[in-house]
């Protein structure tokens, strides 16, 4: 059970970054075109992500930097951070929130980048896009790993003219919901600056590994 659960978490990360990493190329080519439809963004993301991951001309630092830059473009990290904080967001000053968003992105990125880099060309199957509301959809997809198909979903919303990812779910586990449960528990009796300090600490620990 534990193993299965952990695997889901990891795959959530893998999912996010394989897909978001993908937009690296799309971004340099024409991200806005790809982002015109949710499927466009996700499909371009995956295809291009694989291209970046298999680009032997890039060294590790270059590849990671590309992936990171693009993650910040394809996903609306402000939105993900706000949804993760939920009602406690109002306790944050705009500066604190920005700092939090930045650290939150780094935490998720640092944790999963290694797994993304070990992605080994597992085929991806797309499902039918589900409309949640006028400007929100879910794009389901399945990564066909050697063990078993792993179903997941990206949640996207329309921000202006472009679609942006605001959540990712693997095997039913929503990344935003999972972080929200942790942040809410933390902020019940601790301050936003304590949370920022904790994230700083974790980010620097992960980086030193």
């Amino acid at each position: 059970m534990k193993g299965k659960l952990c695997r889901s978490f990891i795959l959530a990360g893998l999912f996010t970054f394989v897909a978001l990493a993908g937009v690296t190329r799309a971004a340099t080519l024409d991200l806005s075109k790809a982002a015109g439809t949710p499927e466009g963004l996700i499909h371009a993301a995956i295809e291009q992500g694989l291209a970046v991951l298999s680009d032997k001309n890039l060294n590790q630092a270059q590849r990671r930097e590309k992936i990171r830059t693009i993650m910040l473009e394809a996903a609306d990290m402000n939105q993900m951070a706000a949804l993760s904080l939920s009602k406690y967001k109002s306790k944050f000053t705009p500066e604190q929130f920005q700092q939090f968003t930045d650290l939150f992105s780094k935490l998720v990125f640092n944790t999963y980048i290694g797994h993304v880099e070990s992605y080994n060309g597992e085929p991806v199957q797309y499902g039918k896009t589900q409309k949640i509301a006028a400007d929100r959809v879910r794009v389901p997809l399945t990564v066909m790993t050697k063990d078993a198909p792993v179903p997941g979903e990206f949640s996207l919303y329309k921000k202006g003219t472009e679609w942006k990812v605001y959540d990712v779910r693997i095997e039913g586990i929503s990344l935003v919901n999972n972080y929200r449960s942790q942040f809410n528990e933390f902020l019940v009796n601790k301050t936003p600056s304590a949370l920022i300090d904790q994230l700083k600490h974790q980010v620097s620990e992960n980086a030193s590994k």
């Binding site: 967001k89 509301a133 039913g172 586990i173 449960s181």
Partner: protein
């Protein structure tokens, strides 16, 4: 890791004791509310430099998203945890057991056993656990799936050389139906009950404990001395570092595991 006999007994007794109180009302999904005002998003300007931008997030977005997106509904992933002290004790116990025992043992094992042998063994053990799937599919009224699992077992046990190869999937393109005891109990309408963490087993709930019991009783591995332990070591060796990553990504690993367990089970129960 296998639970010791004492643990099994304790769980059996407990699950009987709580079985009658297990049916807590399940969370009913909220009706979707009115359309979100368009202005909240349309007025936003594309911001790529997060360092310099203002937050750009409408204060109402959270509620509006949650109304139609059950993953963002705050009751999603939540579970009563009145035994948090007890649960945290076992959480720490399992954590230490992982780092002090399971991890070194599975790492050593992974060094001496070739990966292909470990992958084959994993297939064989999954195949041996076919009765768990066959019985749970049947109990859930999924008789066609139950029959397909019987067929898979036949194919893999023979053509797949005692299950070391998953021939049913690779050659016959058959589906796999990993139905479990928790889903079976969920089908009867039983609520999740409170959160429970068990030594060696990890996150569970009252219903999850009952489901675990069904799966354990119907699993042939239970009756082969040492088999569940081998299963666990073998699986860990094929998936190294995963638990560590989950911990690193978490601000509060206990809460992260609890929420992840509940979200995962909520999804499975709805299948």
């Amino acid at each position: 890791m296998p639970a010791s006999k004492t643990t099994c007994l304790a769980i059996a007794l407990l699950s009987i004791a709580v079985a009658t109180t297990a049916a807590t009302p399940r969370h009913s999904s909220k009706p979707s509310s009115s359309k979100r005002p368009q202005t909240a998003l349309q007025s936003e300007v594309e911001q790529k430099k997060t360092e310099t931008a203002s937050t750009g997030v409408s204060p109402n977005l959270e509620a509006e998203f949650a109304a139609e997106d059950h993953a963002l509904d705050s009751s999603r992933g939540e579970i009563a945890d009145p035994l948090i002290g007890w649960n945290k004790m076992w959480y720490h116990f399992n954590d230490k057991t992982y780092f002090w025992v399971l991890k070194p043992v599975s790492t050593g094992y992974g060094k001496v056993m070739p990966k292909i042998a470990r992958a084959g063994l994993r297939n064989a053990l999954i195949n041996l656990k076919a009765p768990v799937r066959i019985i749970n599919c049947a109990l859930q009224g999924r008789f066609s799936e139950s029959g397909q699992e019987v067929e898979r077992f036949g194919i893999n046990s023979t053509l797949g050389v005692l299950g070391f190869m998953d021939t049913a999937t690779t050659k016959f393109k058959m589906n796999y139906y990993p139905r479990d005891g928790d889903q079976t109990l969920a089908k009867t309408g039983a609520g999740t009950g409170i959160y429970l963490v068990w030594p060696f087993i990890g996150p569970s709930s009252v219903r999850g404990t009952g489901g675990w019991l069904i799966d354990t009783v119907t699993s042939p591995l239970t009756y082969l001395p040492g088999a569940p332990l081998v299963d666990n070591i073998n699986n860990t060796s094929l998936d190294p570092g995963t638990y560590e990553k989950v911990k690193e990504a978490s601000v509060d690993p206990y809460v992260a595991m609890r929420n992840g367990y509940v979200q995962y089970r909520q999804k499975r129960a709805g299948e």
